[in-house]
Amino acid sequence: MTVGHMVTLAGVLFTVGMLGVLSRRNILIVLLSVELMLNAAALAFVAFANRWDNLDGQVMVFFAITVAAAEVAVGLAIVIALFRLRATVDTDRVDLLQR
C-alpha cells in the first residue's frame, strides 16, 4: 500500500465521477457524480497528508466537506426550482443559454 496506490484509487473514483458528469443527462446523477469527484480529491489530499506526515491536508479535506455540503444544498435547491419551472431534470432540455 503506497501513496501511488492511494492516488491511483482517487484517480479511478475521479474518472468514474467524470464519466457520470460527461455521459449522464439526469441532472441529479450529474450532481451525485460531482460529489464522487470531490471525494476523490479528498482521498488524494489525505494520501499526501499522510506522505508528508502533516495534518494540514486533513484540515483542507474538512473544509472541502463543508463546502460540499453547502454546494449540495444550493445545487438541489436549484434543481427543485428548475423542476418547478420546466418540469424536467434533463440537462439536454435546459438549453436556453445555448440558443
Binding site: V3, V12, V16, L19, R25, D53, T66, A69, L76
Partner: protein, 165 residues
Amino acid sequence: MTLFFWIFAALIAGAGLMAVTRRNGVSAALWAAVVFIGIAGEFVLMRAYFLAVVEVLVYAGAIMVLFLFVIMLLNLREEDLQAMQGGPRLHVAGAFFAVAFLGALVWTCRRAGLFAEPLRAVKAGETSGVAGPLFERFVLPFEIASLLLLAAIVGAVLITKRRLR
C-alpha cells in the same frame, strides 16, 4: 492493511460505477452512500480517524439523505427516466476522456516515483490532532466556512421559495 486497502478499493470502484450507471435515482444515491463508506474505510487505513467519522456523518448521513429527499420529492416517472438515457455518442466521449485521464494520472504517478513511497504517517488525525491546526492557523477560514454555510442555508430557502415578497 494491504488486504483491507484492496477490499475498500474494490468497494469504492464497484459501487462508484454502479452509482453513475443506475437509471433510478434512489439506487444511484444508495450506491453512492456505499462509496462514501468505502472512502471512510480508506481514511481509517491512512490514520485520518476524525475525517472518517465526518465522512460517514456528513456524506453518508446528511448529504445522501438530502439527495434522497429531493429524488423522492421530484418523483420522476419511468418514461421520463427512459427518455433521459444518453446516446452512444455521449458514452463514447465519456469513456475516451476517462481512459485518457486515468492513463495520464498513472503515468505521472509512476514518473514521480509515488509507487515507491509507503504510507507511513506518525501523526494520527484524531479529533485533537485536526483541531490543533484548525483553531490556530486556519481559524479565519473556519469562521468564513460558517458564513458560507449560513449563506447556503439562506440561499437554498430563497431559491426554493415559490413567491418572493
